[in-house]
């Protein structure tokens, strides 16, 4: 059962990374316009060159 001493911290760390990513996404306001962001990815406007 010694393996648990590695596995539990590892799984908590992985979960923690997910939580940190969520907090980061929240802080950078990525949940403000979910409908718009879902649609924006489909537009072809700046496919050939970056937006100036």
């Amino acid at each position: 059962m010694e393996i648990l001493t590695y596995l539990i911290p590892v799984s908590l760390l992985l979960g923690g990374i997910g939580l940190a990513a969520f907090v980061w996404a929240l802080k950078t306001r990525q949940f403000d316009d979910p409908a718009g962001d879902a649609s924006r990815i489909l537009t072809k406007d700046w496919d050939d060159r970056p937006k100036p």
């Binding site: 539990i8 979960g15 997910g18 649609s39």
Partner: protein, 738 residues
């Protein structure tokens, strides 16, 4: 939108690039300093009720980018808004015209009035707590599975300790909204749903720590975090529905940016309404709405009073005519001396009435409140009687009795109940929002489900307030040609309608010279050396017809009357047939003339109509119907409807309605199409049914699980199963809404 309220004043585009480089955020970039120091920088906010797709975003943004002076624009599809960074020279009117050119209806919003920051912050706060609860729930669940599948001795204790280390901080952080609201309830002397929730969270955490410390078999850490997660989910859904409704309602309030053109020593100065004093001179352009109550001192014109009285026929206005705020000036510029402005103007006199009605509506007890009133005492009673019984039965085994009591609280905890209403309401209002209906009031859907009588206003509600010619074919072609030539010279709604109809009929306007518009009367010109006039009956020496009409006199024969009817609102027929099919009784009540009301009633199939009704008569009718035990849905838009809208059980007004009417109504029709009202009535009844079904479902789970808990057979596994299964069933049931 959010970019506008960003405390750093950064646009979203910059935000994305900056957040990739945290150091840049700390040190303000040269770009930002340049932006701040630029004096001619302005941010405009427009609402775009019709935006709905990916193509809309690029059409709108491309169109706006092409306008000179626009630096950047960003569409927020969720809130249906676009925020534009532009030089100060760019005006909202200019952008609205550009957007109308690419097919999008847009309205200016007053960015100052939109206080979405607060709700925004609350929403993010709830979402953060929800995310933390989800993270802990997943981890604690993994650890708990090991315990449930038979971990023994030291391993079980280790797992319990780790679960506790995750769960306790989570409950303390994520449970705060419940603790706070429960505490506020206790201070106010009432026990809401939040009290049993908080009690269950605290009790489950405490008993679990105690059990873990004593190396016991059962710990409820997983149940505590799961409760937190599901209840926060319900809370978040509820918050989001409200936030969308609130921001859209504020948006509507901000729609009419209240400004007036004041004459100060001959110069025209634009000022906010709040700075206008009695006695000031105000200039109102043709097509503009009267910002204040006043008396005309200069100019002649016609005014459209339909929003205030329901009359569809424009009224003459010249010196000494008294006009009220909300009327629309049609033909000539008018100068008014202000008799009342702002809060004292006739527009605002309805405010008291509306406030009274609002308080009546908050007195409506929702299904959820009724369920909570019945449920909350029952939960406490069950839990404490279980505690008492086992104390007596085991001869004072406190640990066992507290365990049973905690298990009962956890199992009966209104997890599914907390989700039952928000999930259904979110699903329903999202669906209605897509159909163009904005639910302003939290209980509006439930009240709409009870409606059995629908009362409609005519002008501006069933009709668009835009006229259509009815008798073009009855006139000789030559007369129509002259009329068309005259009509094209004016922007009066009747003239525009006549000119459009002539153009559509393939009629070429005759050659009329010396065209001259006489504001308040009509247009005159020379045709074959003869003076011809198109305008009011008295100006043409004609007998006034009972209907809306304009008169043509050419000097030969009798003056000819071109009659008009109001154009029906699109979807009006569909809405009425849908409501009739649902077995609701319909009535039409209007302040307009009998002839106009009767014609429309017959056209739409109303059996019952009232014409020439005063505002007080409208609200009296609604009150009478209510006293007869009917639940009335009032659909109206004008100031004359406001009292009736407020008195009705539930009310709907179109977005074009006056502020006061929109404030008084529970549901706002965002687009022009009215067919959505039929859907709304159907969906509201479905919503109510789903809510009741959800209550039934969670009650069924309780009926099975509570006896287990009371006899002490409820393990943490059973609690976790009951909780997640009931929450998932309830959510799925809510999604069945069509």
């Amino acid at each position: 939108m959010t970019a506008a309220l960003d405390p750093n004043g950064l646009s979203e585009v910059e935000h994305a690039s900056l957040s990739a480089c945290p150091a840049c955020v700390a040190a303000p970039s040269a770009e930002r300093i340049a932006q701040l120091s630029r004096p001619d920088h302005a941010r405009l906010m427009l609402s775009l009720p019709a935006a709905h797709c990916a193509a809309c975003i690029s059409t709108v943004e491309t169109a706006l980018a092409a306008v000179a002076g626009v630096q950047s624009s960003r569409v927020n599809l969720t809130l249906k808004r676009v925020s534009v960074d532009a030089e100060a020279a760019v005006t909202a009117d200019q952008l609205i015209k550009v957007l109308a050119g690419v097919g999008y209806e847009a309205h200016e919003l007053d960015a100052g009035l939109l206080s979405a920051t607060e709700t925004d912050r609350q929403g993010r706060d709830l979402l953060m707590r929800l995310g933390v609860a989800f993270f802990s729930m997943m981890n604690v669940m993994l650890l708990s599975v090991a315990v449930w599948s038979g971990a023994e001795g030291i391993t079980r204790d280790l797992f319990h300790w780790i679960s506790g280390a995750i769960a306790i901080p989570t409950v303390l952080f994520s449970g705060q909204p419940f603790f706070r609201s429960a505490w506020a309830g206790v201070k106010a002397g009432r026990l809401g749903m939040d009290f049993p929730i908080s009690l269950a969270l605290v009790l489950a955490s405490c008993i679990s720590i105690f059990e873990t410390w004593k190396s016991g078999h059962h710990a409820y850490f997983d149940a505590a975090v799961m409760l937190c997660f599901f209840l926060l989910l319900g809370r978040y859904l509820d918050h989001r529905t409200r936030a969308v409704a609130r921001s859209a309602a504020e948006e509507l309030a901000a729609l009419e940016v209240p400004r007036a053109v004041v004459l100060v020593e001959g110069a025209e100065i634009t000022r906010p309404i709040s700075e206008i004093a009695v006695g000031d001179l105000v200039r109102v352009r043709p097509g503009g709405r009267m910002p204040v109550d006043g008396v005309v001192v200069d100019g002649t014109s016609e005014v459209d009073r339909s929003l205030l009285t329901g009359e569809s026929l424009p009224v003459f206005a010249g010196p000494e005519t008294v006009v009220s705020a909300g009327e629309v000036n049609l033909t000539g510029p008018l100068t008014l001396r202000v008799t009342a402005a702002g809060k004292d103007s006739s527009l605002h006199r309805m405010a008291d009435l509306v406030a009274v009605a609002e308080s009546a509506k908050t007195r409506y007890t929702t299904l959820a409140e009724r369920a909570a009133n019945w449920y909350s005492p029952l939960v406490h009673l069950l839990s404490f009687s279980a505690f008492g019984f086992w104390m007596w039965k085991t001869g004072g085994d406190l640990r066992f009795a507290v365990n049973i009591s905690a298990a009962t609280l956890i199992i009966t905890c209104p997890c599914a109940l907390g989700l039952a209403v928000p999930a259904v309401v979110t699903s329903a209002s999202g669906r209605l929002f897509r159909k163009g209906l904005l639910i302003k009031h939290g209980t509006a859907l439930e009240r709409l489900a009870e409606v059995d009588t629908v009362v409609f206003d005519k002008t501006g509600t069933l009709t668009m307030g835009t006229p259509e010619v009815t008798n073009l074919a009855e006139h000789p072609r030559a007369a129509v040609e002259v009329a068309a030539a005259l009509a094209m010279a004016s922007s009066h709604p009747l003239a525009t309608a006549l000119a459009d109809a002539a153009r559509a009929g393939g009629i070429h306007p005759a050659r009329v010279e010396d065209l001259r518009e006489v504001p308040g009367y009509g247009i005159e010109g020379l045709w074959r050396g003869q003076k011809v006039r198109l305008g009011r009956a008295s100006w043409c020496q004609a007998d006034e017809a009972a209907m809306t009409a304009t008169y043509l006199c050419t000097g030969e024969g009798r003056p000819r009357a071109f009659t008009f009817t109001d154009r029906l609102r699109p979807g009006a027929e569909a809405a009425i047939s849908a409501l009739t099919a649902q077995g609701k009784s319909l009535r039409l009540i209007s302040g307009d003339t009998e002839a106009a009301v009767a014609a429309l009633a017959r056209r739409l199939g109303f059996a019952d109509w009232t014409s020439g009704a005063l505002p007080a008569e409208k609200s009296a009718l609604v009150r009478d119907l209510t006293l007869q035990g009917r639940r009335v849905l009032m659909v109206g838009d004008g100031l004359n409807d406001t009292a009736a809208l407020a008195a009705a059980h539930v009310s709907i007004s179109p977005a074009s309605a006056l502020d006061a009417a929109r404030a008084a109504s529970d549901i706002v029709l965002l687009g022009q199409d009215m067919a959505a009202i039929g859907d709304a009535a159907r969906i509201s009844r479905q919503t109510r049914r789903r809510i009741i079904e959800n209550f039934g479902l969670s009650a069924a789970y309780n009926v099975i699980a509570v006896p287990l808990a009371l006899v002490g057979a409820a393990t943490p596994l059973a609690a976790a199963l009951a909780m997640s299964l009931s929450s998932i069933t309830v959510s799925l049931n809510s999604l069945r809404l069509k």
